[in-house]
Amino acid sequence: MSSSQAVPATHLREPDPYKLGRAPYHGGSGHGHGEPPGHGAGGPASKRVIVGYGFWIFLLSDIVMFSGFFAAHAVLQDATAGGPSGKDLFDLSRVAIETGLLLASSFTCGMAAVATEARSHLWTQVFLLVTGLLGLGFLIMEAQEFAAMIAEGAGPQRSAFLSSFFAVVGCHGLHVTAGLLWLGTMMAQIFVKGFRPNILRRLLCFNLFWHALDIIWVALFTIVYLIGAGA
């Protein structure tokens, strides 16, 4: 039942829905500008796309580094050397508040990106400021937690379990600290230089960084705190 007598093969095909430029279909009227060619034929991608991709690779390498800390912690979770375990130390309501703060800051960071997209100076700065304050609140709570643990003799030198705990949570805290410094410089740059293309690219990278920190925190509060407090 083949009806392939007069219909050319190109007309049976979808007119390249994803604009990959592989279909030999050139629009209906034949003016020469039907479907645009794919990205391969359109020259290199815009700088913004390339910068975003490169920063995404960096973030993934950062996550791979964190996976080493996570593996160490998972292996050393029971090596308490007679000292306190996660069940004795972790205050889950405090962890829940920290989680809420970081999640809210991730959301306001996204709102700042939307405001930037709308080219609103005021709202971008407001949302970035809120993001920074929420991140600062998270850091303060974490510092208090660390100080309390060290004060009751459960510092990183107490056991292998606590060493790995302070390493993985502290490394995330250092990342948040670096993110806050970056946030401050971004706010200053927007204030002084405005929405120039290079500033917009930096903002994009900062957004990616801040959201990635929240992703790491999701793994952290699940594996270190919730499973650690239950086991």
Partner: protein, 129 residues
């Protein structure tokens, strides 16, 4: 420099973290992501705190919830999509996930066996006498 921005707005390329054009759609996406993330976080803390799941199954449930939440964050906050212009980002992510799985899974697996095969401390002390 203005040519650069024009190129950005006209090309269909999307980097991770790049917003859509409409404010409403952007806010909506983040709100959906926030809602799902809050739900999954609350479910995690509730599962850990209460005994509604069989005890040994709690870690599994928590890991599943965490992976779901990471997926929500990737989709709604980092804007990793299945669109063909996102292929590079997805491929890089897949490679990252592979390495993380190898490092974490491999460590737990190997160290678990090493622990299991280690001589108990009592016997070791007796042999040293």
């Amino acid at each position: 420099m203005s040519a650069d921005t024009n190129h950005d707005s006209e090309s269909g390329d999307v980097a991770p973290g790049v917003e859509g054009t409409s404010i409403r759609a952007g806010v909506q996406g983040y709100l959906i992501g926030l809602g799902l993330a809050v739900l999954l976080t609350a479910a995690s803390f509730y599962t850990a705190g209460s005994g509604w799941i069989w005890g040994p199954g709690i870690p599994v449930a928590l890991v599943v919830l965490a992976i779901a939440q990471i997926g929500v964050h990737l989709a709604f906050f980092l804007h990793i999509t299945t669109a063909p212009d996102n292929t590079n980002n997805v491929l890089a992510l897949a490679f990252g996930v592979l390495i993380v799985a190898l490092v974490v899974g491999g460590s737990i697996w190997i160290m678990g066996h090493v622990n299991h095969n280690m001589m108990p401390m009592q016997e070791m002390l007796q042999m040293q006498r």
